[in-house]
């Protein structure tokens, strides 16, 4: 069983003053992995400048644009065709001994190997008062704990676009109890890491055909590392395990490592950016 | 050579040259006005207005009474004033700073000394009794710099770019000075029967370009509008003439672009074209419509500058 998606990403940047020089880097190409296959992709910009591809510091493919002319406005269009395989996320057996399972997290080698995804980052730091907001139950397996964390976050926060932005600290989100997928994911990562479970931020596309929460932009969810199983995707915004509706682009420690569009623009004055994402399911077999 | 550094060197040359012409303009106009033959040319207001006109900051309102100390300080030593001599020297030094790995220690040290001299010049001394000393020092120090440029740098691209800057600026400044003095001569005519073509201002103009003595030697006559303009614009042997400046620019751009191919889009082509145009001009054509000549030449110089920027200084 598989599902084919056609994804359209577009961004439009408008600048108050003429831009002399600019570099953009897009991190929007779906990755090829066990559960998904990138069939084809296209990219174009309104100035008809040539784009390049490169690999960023974390090994993900990026698209780069460096216009050879001055401009006030530029728009980008990308389209991807992805085949997503139907994978059963529960296709493993839970360990019998939950104490032994949890003890794996205390192993030094484990902590060293997964250090990047256990560290506190700018977006995954909690102040002292919140560090025990969700303690793990060591009588349960890691997977069960993570699953309850996923559920707990989805209940604790309500999905509310427009009240937070990329720079809202986690403490404010906990206090206000609302946010968007990014905030859900950062909280997930922070609490999983707090309980010694490696967790990473995932950026990608969500097919919203099933009434899932998200908006017309890129989606974010998390992956947690379950010893003896591997990385598993959790979508705390929708209280789900990542499934065929989730098309992954990349992962990182937090949003900073995954931001879909990075730009260096040499121009004074204000600018506006409008992004939009459409995910269409082409066919089902 | 890096395009940015080339741009800095070009501007270093321009700022050095600019400060010299400004300083000399202040000096010559102020001191020759003290015993000028007609009343208007002797008037302090007239001289101060001429100075502001030359630096491109003309006071349009005839009723304004200019303050001598303020005007002199503004043009020479005002940190806040973008075109002041002190800022020109500061920019020249900053440009030299960014390229100091390419220029000689001797040149750098001379620029640095020049900067510290101006920086430490007391404003009150300058406006009360230092005008002569200050302006003479500026012109002499720029002469030292030109000597160091010629005498201590490798005559390669670096040298060519600095010389292009110096000569582009010289052409610009000479045309500005001509413009200012032409303007003064127009205003001053009539008083005491002083005619435009025999105005006292032509001698001043020649002195502003350090060309008075040689002009006298060449023509053996009192300067008139025609002879002065011919000497300063068309005489290729007068080092300060427009013609010589254009010839120098052309010579140095050839170092950067030695191509012999016909390329009408290159800067060298444009400079060559402008240069040949003046090489075969009658001074009478120019004198009959000086205003038009000045505007055209300024426009052409801007075009050359823009082209240079695109071709060599694009970073």
């Amino acid at each position: 069983m598989y599902q084919e998606y056609s994804i359209k990403y577009s961004a439009k940047n408008r600048y108050e003053t003429l831009v002399n020089d600019a570099y953009w880097q897009f991190l929007i190409i779906p990755e090829d992995n066990k559960s998904q296959q990138l069939v084809s992709w296209e990219f174009a910009n309104s100035l008809n400048d040539i784009h390049q591809t490169s690999i960023n510091g974390f090994g993900f493919k990026t698209i780069r644009v460096h216009p050879g002319q001055k401009f006030n406005e530029i728009s980008f269009e990308a389209s991807f065709t992805v085949i997503k395989k139907e994978v059963n996320p529960f296709d493993f057996s839970l360990p019998q001994d939950s104490t032994a399972d949890c003890a794996k997290l205390d192993d030094l080698n484990f902590q060293i190997d997964f250090e990047p995804f256990l560290r506190k980052t700018r977006f995954t730091s909690l102040s002292e008062s919140y560090t025990n907001i969700f303690p793990f139950d060591r009588d349960k397996t890691i997977f069960e704990n993570i699953q309850s964390l996923n559920k707990w976050i989805s209940k604790y926060l309500s999905f509310q676009p427009g009240v937070t932005d990329v720079n809202t600290p986690l403490d404010t989100i906990i206090k206000e109890k609302q946010g968007v997928c990014q905030d859900f994911t950062h909280l997930f990562c922070a609490l999983a890491r707090k309980n010694k479970v490696p967790a990473r931020y995932v950026s990608g596309y969500l097919h919203q055909g099933h009434g899932y929460f998200g908006d017309s932009q890129m989606h974010a969810w998390a992956e947690a590392y379950i010893p003896d199983v591997g990385w598993l995707g959790f979508d705390p915004t929708n209280n789900l395990l990542a499934n065929t509706n989730h098309v992954k682009v990349c992962h990182g420690k937090d949003y900073t490592d995954c931001s879909p569009l990075k730009g260096v623009v040499y121009a004074p004055g204000e600018n506006t950016t409008i992004h939009s994402v459409k995910v269409l399911s082409e066919q089902q077999q | 050579m890096l395009a940015r550094v080339a741009n800095n060197l070009f501007w270093m040359g321009r700022y050095i040259e600019r400060s010299e012409h400004m300083a000399r303009y202040l000096n010559v106009n102020y001191f020759s006005s003290l015993d000028a033959p007609n009343q208007l040319s002797q008037s302090r207001q007239f001289v101060l207005r001429s100075m502001l006109f030359m630096v491109g900051d003309a006071e349009e309102d005839e009723s304004v009474e200019l303050n001598e100390d303020e005007v002199l300080q503004k043009i020479a030593l005002d940190h806040e004033c973008g075109y002041s001599i002190i800022n020109n020297v500061k920019y020249a030094r900053e440009n030299a700073n960014s390229a100091r790995d390419l220029i000689s220690t001797e040149l750098y040290e001379a620029i640095n000394k020049f900067y510290h001299f101006i920086l430490n010049y007391p404003v009150d001394v300058f406006v009360k009794r230092g005008l002569y000393d200050f302006t003479i020092n500026v012109t002499e120090m720029t002469a030292i710099l030109r000597g160091k440029i010629r005498g201590t740098l490798l005559h390669d691209e670096v040298y060519a770019i600095i010389m292009m800057g110096i000569n582009m600026e010289r052409a610009n400044q000479i045309i500005r000075i001509i413009n200012a003095k032409y303007n003064d001569a127009l205003k001053a005519q009539g008083s005491y029967g002083d005619k435009f073509s025999h105005s006292f201002e032509w001698s001043t103009l020649l002195k502003c370009a350090e060309s008075y003595d040689m002009m006298r030697r060449f023509y053996k006559k009192t300067p008139t509008s025609i002879t002065t303009l011919e000497f300063l614009i068309l005489n290729p042997n007068c080092p300060r003439s427009i013609m010589n400046s254009l010839n120098q620019v052309y010579k140095h751009i050839r170092v950067l672009d030695p191509s012999k191919k016909y390329n009408k889009n290159s800067t060298a082509f444009l400079v060559g074209r402008v240069r040949s145009e003046y090489e075969y001009k009658y001074i009478e054509e120019i004198e009959s419509n000086i205003k038009n000549f000045i505007d055209t030449l300024l426009k052409e110089l801007i075009q050359i500058s823009k082209k240079m920027e695109k071709e060599f200084f694009n970073y």
Binding site: R64 | R4, V5
Partner: protein, 503 residues
């Protein structure tokens, strides 16, 4: 004028060879508790300094006043200046230069040179390990915390093999001599250590002022730094390049070390570029020249890690080059020092240097480490809080001598304030016993006399592929304020020419 000074030397030499009561040291006050580099505990001039002492003794203090003025204006006219941070009107200052040189004999230098190389090598192996197998962490020799809490531990560098296997191509090791007569390392600087240009300028300045003194000593040259640096950088060029195009990248002319950047570019004969002079296309780096783009293969960077590429690290960096890191990772350009090197330039890593040297080289440290208390360890934190007046408290991540508190100089209120800060953020601080830096006669401008002042020494080590180079000289920094132990230029320090004697 210089010639007449030279004549005086000869005269001075004849007249006062055995006369130690020389005039310029008449007012020299020797504190017997401090280690004086030129006088022994009985006040007798040490052998190696004897000739110099007599030569200098042939001068009157007025000669020094004049020579000193000349040296100062020479630095100023040459534009060998720097700007101090934190002042409203950042003024240009010269780095004060002292006319009395420091001499290091062959035996002592041997220790310093071998010790500097040993540390640079060990740090390089440490960096390779923490970006690859992480054995030293897994074996529990260095705590994971040490790297995981550092912003300079760049995950982008994980499993990246820098060309030639070198991370810290250029290191600056700060050493001092304690009252016990032994050298100790205070710091390893492997981000963008600066100061090497002053070593050469000081030598030039001393030669100009008093060239006669060089006739009496066999001193190693210091002017070969740039050529060695360039040679060694070329050993780590990208694959497939015959003659690499090397550049120095600077944050720009307003940077306090700009003079040094331009000096190095000039003496290496390479371009000095800023970020905006470079661009990346298809993962290759080019510079914008008047003849169009030209490929760049090796970059000696004087920009901190996090600023080199706004697309990969700090997005607000206007100093870097968009796309540079990807080009580096692809092996198309060499960066020196390698990105991610900063993690080992940390006062907390310093404290593990004996363990690091032992682990990778199976050697004991040739130059000692100052014992360090980690405030992150509860028992050591307790000791530090109880003994603050006997310790120097240092923040682990500040450079340039900022934020250092010296326990016995603090008022009661200040002690409480420091205690509070340390207790609030123990990971941020380490503490060390107050080391007494050795002292050296130094000409003090305002008193017009020679006085004892504390000194240290920064050595410069360059690592290449299978080769290394230590500049035989180094920068002796002097704390010009009486009793002051902080020698950084930003904190009112000066410097001396440093002579390493040949056998």
């Amino acid at each position: 004028m210089v010639r007449s000074v030279e004549n005086r030397y000869i005269k001075g030499k004849e007249n006062s060879m055995d006369n130690l009561e020389n005039q310029i040291f008449a007012s020299y006050q020797r504190n017997p508790d401090l280690f004086d580099e030129i006088f022994d505990e009985n006040g007798v001039v040490k052998d190696v300094y004897k000739t110099l002492f007599n030569l200098y003794g042939g001068h009157s203090i007025q000669d020094y006043v004049r020579l000193n003025e000349k040296a100062k204006s020479s630095f100023f006219n040459q534009g060998i200046t720097f700007q101090v941070y934190g002042e409203k009107d950042a003024k240009e200052k010269i780095f004060p230069f002292d006319l009395f040189p420091r001499i290091i004999d062959t035996a002592e230098w041997d220790i310093i040179e071998r010790g500097s190389i040993q540390r640079s090598r060990a740090l390089n192996l440490f960096l390779w390990d923490i970006y690859h197998d992480k054995k030293i962490l897994k074996q529990g020799i260095v705590p994971l915390e040490l790297v995981s809490s550092s912003d300079n531990y760049l995950h982008q560098m994980m499993n990246v093999n820098p060309p030639g296997g070198i991370y810290n191509h250029i290191s600056g090791t700060d050493v001092i001599k304690h009252t016990d007569g032994n050298y100790y390392v205070l710091e390893d600087n492997i981000r963008c250590p600066s100061g090497v240009s002053y070593v050469i300028c000081n030598r030039t300045a001393l030669k100009r002022a008093l060239f006669g003194v060089f006739n009496h000593y066999q001193t190693h040259t210091v002017t070969n730094y740039a050529e060695n640096l360039l040679d060694l950088l070329e050993t780590v060029k990208p694959k497939g390049i015959d003659i690499p195009n090397t550049v120095v990248i600077t944050p720009g002319m307003y940077n306090s070390a700009f003079y040094e950047h331009s000096y190095l570019a000039k003496t290496m004969g390479v371009e000095l570029v800023e970020g905006r002079d470079l661009f990346v296309e298809n993962d290759f780096v080019y510079m914008k020249t008047i003849q169009g783009p030209e490929r760049v293969d090796v970059i000696y960077r004087r920009i901190d890690d996090l600023f080199i590429d706004p697309l990969e690290f700090r997005p607000d960096s206007a100093l870097g080059v968009p796309g540079l890191f990807a080009a580096y990772k692809k092996g198309n350009v060499t960066l020196a020092n390698a990105p991610g090197t900063g993690v080992a330039d940390d006062k907390a890593v310093y404290t593990y240097m004996p363990e690091i040297i032992k682990y990778y080289l199976d050697e004991e440290p040739i130059i000692k480490n100052v014992h360090t208390y980690h405030c992150s360890r509860p028992d050591e934190l307790k000791y530090v809080l109880e003994h603050i007046s006997e310790l120097v408290i240092k923040p682990v991540d500040e450079a340039g001598g900022y934020g250092i508190s010296i326990g016995n100089r603090l008022s009661k209120e200040e002690v409480e304030e420091v205690k509070k800060q340390v207790a609030q953020n123990p990971r941020k601080y380490v503490a060390q016993p107050i080391m007494s830096l050795s002292v050296h006669p130094t000409y003090i401008d305002e008193n017009e006399s020679f006085e004892q002042r504390h000194i240290d020494l920064r050595t410069f080590t360059v690592l290449g592929k299978d080769r290394e180079f230590v500049l035989k000289g180094g920068l002796t920094r002097v704390a010009l304020k009486k009793g002051n132990l902080i020698v950084n230029s930003s904190q009112g320090g000066g410097s001396k020419d440093t002579w390493v004697l040949k056998d």
